[in-house]
């Protein structure tokens, strides 16, 4: 596990910082700091659109945290269980659309509506997981993709329930006033922060639980898990459901934050974006998924601003066209990461701090998927 202790004899700052207790304290401090951000006047020019107390910046930060949370839930399936799902967007969309529909159609209070949506997300993840885990490898990828496509078709076809192409606007009748309107963005920001923390804690807990160990062992060597008398199917299904429910929770927060759900959150491309984020951050690293989500969202946002800037408009075509397409740059970046940096950002950080290259092991983690 810790190469550092074997290769460097003297205790370093890094060793101290990576002790579990220290890590949790640092994490708590970070969360505390993030919670204070709406009260502070901090500016990071080029990264954030304005000072940290402004609604625009808070909105972006909250959105970033939700994407990070969603990426964490995908990390459970892809990084921990080693299952290549192409349909994770479905559970996120179930949260966003589910809550939106329950609020609008059944005129419920927020809390019962959330509970109902959670149950719906749980059921969908349970059914889809139970069916798709019966096949492995590419077959699994295809069945999950197919179910997500089915969801996408349902959303498109039932426009009177889902708003179709227009998207589904949040019905604020039963939403507490504190969570509505630009002036209350800071409250939504705190909700999103809480959701991210919740997802992170559940993910950590799950990974450290017996089920988490078994599913990770299954990824490495399914045969050996079978030999000790455990049926990998149920552990995988449990992981699939936990990840699905977490995605549903993030999806509900997304609806509250964005005030609407649109079809793009249920497309295959959206799941692919999650895959990109997790790989970018580092497959198998919990905080890698978080960092990947943050980096990806901020890059996407900044590149979009950059694309519209005059500096770009003045360039010759062969530079202007690629540079004005954020997804082109992100896609290219992703390819480069896969080719040259298989551990992603987290792997790179580990290599820098531990001073030891282990590209091979990182590649092996990747190849255990499917």
């Amino acid at each position: 596990m810790s190469n550092a202790t074997q290769t460097t004899n003297k205790p370093s700052v890094m060793d101290f910082l990576t002790r579990p207790a220290v890590k949790w304290v640092l994490g708590a401090l970070l969360v505390g700091f993030l919670a204070l951000l709406p009260m502070l006047n901090l500016s990071i020019p080029g990264v954030l659109p304005g000072a940290t107390y402004t609604p625009g910046t808070l909105q972006l930060l909250a959105f970033t945290m939700l994407i990070a949370g969603l990426a964490l839930s995908y990390h459970l399936i892809f990084g921990v269980a080693g299952l290549l799902s192409f349909g994770h967007a479905l559970y996120f969309a179930a949260g966003a659309y589910g809550l939106g529909i329950v609020l609008r159609r059944f005129e419920m209070e927020l809390i019962p509506a959330i509970v109902i949506t959670l149950v719906v997300g749980l059921l969908i993840a349970g059914v889809v997981g139970a069916v798709s885990l019966r096949v492995t490898g590419i077959g699994f990828a295809m069945v999950t993709l197919a179910f997500a496509q089915a969801g996408s078709v349902l959303v498109r076809r039932n426009a009177d329930w889902t708003g179709g192409d227009e998207g589904l606007a949040l019905d604020t009748t039963h939403i507490p006033d504190e969570l509505v309107g630009v002036l209350n963005t800071r409250n939504l920001y705190w909700v999103c922060l809480a959701v991210l923390v919740l997802v992170f804690l559940v993910t950590s807990w799950f990974e450290k639980s017996r089920a988490g160990h078994v599913v990770a062992a299954t990824r490495e060597n399914e045969l050996r898990v079978r030999v000790i008398g455990i049926r990998p199917y149920f552990v995988k299904l449990l992981t699939f459901i936990v990840a699905g429910v977490l995605a549903t929770i993030v999806g509900m927060a997304y609806l509250l934050l964005q005030s609407s759900a649109t079809q793009k959150i249920i497309t295959a491309d959206f799941t692919l974006t999650l895959l990109v984020i997790v790989v970018l951050g580092g497959v198998g690293y919990r905080w890698g998924a978080v960092i990947g989500g943050v980096v990806y969202t901020l890059l996407d946002q900044r590149l979009t601003v950059l694309a519209g800037s005059e500096a770009i408009a003045g360039l010759p075509d062969f530079l202007r066209i690629p540079l004005s397409e954020p997804l082109f740059i992100l896609g290219t970046l992703f390819i480069l990461v896969v080719l040259f940096l298989p551990g992603g950002i987290a792997g790179l950080a580990k290599r820098v701090t531990r001073g030891r290259s282990n590209v091979r092991a990182e590649r092996d983690v990747l190849e255990e998927v499917v």
């Binding site: 490898g137 590419i138 990828a141 197919a146 076809r157 692919l272 397409e325 896609g331």
Partner: protein, 290 residues
Amino acid sequence: MSTIVLLLITGLGLGALYFLVASGLSLIYGLMDVLNFAHGSFLTLGAFAGWEFARRFGADSWGTFLLSLLVGAAVGAIFAVLTELLLIRKLYERLIEQVLVTVGLALATVALFEGIWGQDPIYLTAPAWMGGQTNVLGASIPNDRFLYIAAAVIVLIAIVLFLKFTRFGLIIRAGVENRSMVTALGIDVRSAFTLVFAIGGAAAGIGGVLASHYNGYVSPYIGGSLLIFAFIVTVIGGLGSLSGAAIASAVVAVLQQFANYHWGIGDLVVVLLLAAVLLLRPSGLLGSKA
């Protein structure tokens, strides 16, 4: 009766497009285990290349149309070969990373196409006959559907003849079955990798030009929307099986047309069919690999 004939033939026309995409996907997966997400981009670039060519040389003439198919095939093949040589080959035997690279390439190239040609559909013109209709057993069939079917059949026959009667074809067929044994016979199987990408890219390029006529426009997204169905067809037919891909293309598209006509749920039926086939026969209709 006429409705049935209409749905059947238009379904086969759509199936022809599926097959042009799925044939390459299936060969590539069969030989290399690579699920190629960039295949839609081969198709889209082929479509744009065909359109760029046709609009310069008179889009309503037959000569230009046929040449635009060749242009689409050539561009698709070149793009595919470059993809294999520059990206896939670097990750030899690294299956997940190969898939990830094709995902990245698909995202990046669609964005690039948006940058070059814009996000909006560009409507195109075709030889007048393609806009007409022919009466078959009382059903008025749009003429272009016959063209798609003919193109797919020609491509199918060409690939089958190639696989059957050339040494490279022999290597590909053997490689689909047992790649490592092919290398153990002293054959550099990687040349076959490049070749299946070339074949798949060419078929997708032709498919792209035809799909743009089917839709009536080119756009950066035509590849992606066909790709999902092509994946489904490939899996239903059995990954690596060319005849499986051909049969599944026809079955899926015809079924889709009928379901769309009667209940308006064609897409859903396809998805359910996929789930059902995978659960009953995980290796697909004609597949031998799981």
